[in-house]
């Protein structure tokens, strides 16, 4: 698999796994509006994942479809960022995870619109508009929770401490990232850091939340080495397709 294909697959898997996680809220969110909100964000991410998976399948050139890639790969073949497979926790933890990812995707998709891969640039141009609404939603909730009651403030601050170390992986470049950067396909993740930090800092400040200290903590989901949570997600997501190959609604 070329670095180009691996890179597209990383983006696809990150969107797909986050969509699956957010889908777990359906029927369980604190209010009907949030049920709809989280489901709609999930749906956008799923749509983006499908476009990216199809493109990765074409780049790979082995005839794998979006469904083959989503339903028939094992844990170590999944290349999503480790942050998105972290459990939903309470509503506050889900919102913290969402702010961190939304701000990253927004910056990334804005830059990817200039990609030398025209298909990726098209997908990014579509996705960036949806991502703006995602961040509006998640940041809006983080403001209310962070600047809310003592209880809500303490919970989202704790969630922030817990999830913050996972952001290192989103914003650090490895070999694949360097190769696609050199080919003009994508910006290296570390070049997104200043803009991402500025955006996140502003949201945290408004939400009266304290930015956690930088840690050397490293995760390698995008290289296929995951936390213990991904296996359970895949087991649920893939069970129907594996039991009934090719099943359709």
């Amino acid at each position: 698999m070329t670095p180009h294909c691996r890179y597209v697959l990383r983006l696809a898997d990150t969107s797909l796994i986050l969509a699956q996680r957010l889908g777990e809220w359906i029927g369980h969110a604190p209010a009907l509006e949030e049920d709809l909100g989280l489901a709609n964000v999930s749906l956008d991410l799923l749509g983006q994942a499908r476009m990216l998976l199809s493109w990765a399948g074409e780049l790979e050139g082995r005839g794998r479809t979006e469904d083959d890639l989503a339903y028939l790969r094992e844990e170590s073949e999944y290349l999503n960022a480790t942050l998105v497979e972290q459990p939903n926790g309470d509503f506050g933890q889900t919102i913290v995870r969402q702010v961190l990812v939304d701000a990253w995707q927004l910056e990334l998709y804005e830059r990817l619109q200039q990609s030398k891969d025209p298909r990726l640039a098209e997908i990014a141009a579509k996705a960036v508009k949806e991502t703006r609404y995602h961040l509006r939603y998640s940041a809006g909730w983080l403001l209310r929770l962070g600047d809310g009651t003592d209880e809500s403030h303490a919970r989202v601050q704790a969630a922030l401490e817990r999830l913050w170390p996972f952001t290192n992986e989103l914003l650090a470049a490895d070999e694949v990232d360097r190769e696609v950067e050199a080919a003009g396909i994508a910006p290296a993740p570390d070049t997104l850091l200043p803009a991402w930090s500025a955006r996140v800092d502003e949201i945290l400040k408004d939400a009266r939340l304290e930015k956690p200290a930088i840690t050397p903590f490293g995760w390698h989901g995008k290289q296929g080495r995951h936390s213990e949570h991904l296996g359970y997600i895949l087991a649920e997501m893939q069970s129907l397709h594996r039991a009934h190959p090719g099943a359709a609604w």
Binding site: E33, E34, L36, G37, A39, N40, V41, S42, L43, D44, L45, L46, G47, Q48, R50, M51, E110, A121, E122, I123, A125, K126, A127, V128, K129, E130, R132, Y133, L135, R136, Y137, G140
Partner: protein, 172 residues
């Protein structure tokens, strides 16, 4: 292998007929709008073998209505005596600015506030919304209840004057 003939624009009379047929194809989620009103039909071309190719722009990436819209378009054209295929058009991405003037009137009559402004600035989406007029009584004393409504393209609002809740078709 020779160069494949490029699809061409259909004759004006054919084009008018195609548009007439498509103006009768409703959006599955907001049936008061036709696919023409919604601005999702991006091109109509005639392939060398006579098949009509319809370019369809999805509204939101994950919108489940998109495959239904494509199937409905093909069926409607087939009923009208055409052979048709629908292809995705991703670029430029669909924008709510493409909803026709007539479409905006229809939305309002249906109880959905149409998108308030042209989407020109990317950054503006992170700014506060402009005042949205209630589609029932016209008052701009309205409040956003939720960023997402029954579909990704809509937000939930409530009018403080007539107290009715309503959907707002978001700018995209």
């Amino acid at each position: 292998m020779g160069v494949e003939p490029q699809p061409a624009a259909p004759l004006p009379m054919v084009l008018a007929r195609l548009r007439e047929i498509l103006a009768g194809v409703p959006d599955p989620e907001i049936p008061v709008l036709s696919v023409i009103d919604l601005g999702v039909v991006r091109h109509l071309r005639e392939r060398a073998d006579g098949t009509i190719e319809v370019g369809v722009a999805p509204t939101y990436s994950g919108c489940p209505a998109t495959p239904v819209i494509k199937a409905d378009i093909i069926h409607a054209l087939e009923r009208g005596g055409f052979r048709a295929v629908a292809v995705d058009v991703l670029s430029p991405p669909w924008t709510s600015d493409w909803i026709s003037e007539e479409g905006r009137h229809k939305l309002r009559r249906f109880g959905i506030a149409p998108p308030a402004q042209a989407v020109s600035s990317a950054r503006r989406l992170l700014q506060p919304d402009p005042a949205i007029a209630c589609p029932h009584c016209g008052s701009t004393g309205t409040k956003k209840l939720s960023e997402f409504g029954s579909t990704p393209c809509k937000a939930l609002y409530r009018c403080d004057s007539c107290l009715e809740p309503f959907d707002y078709f978001k700018c995209l």
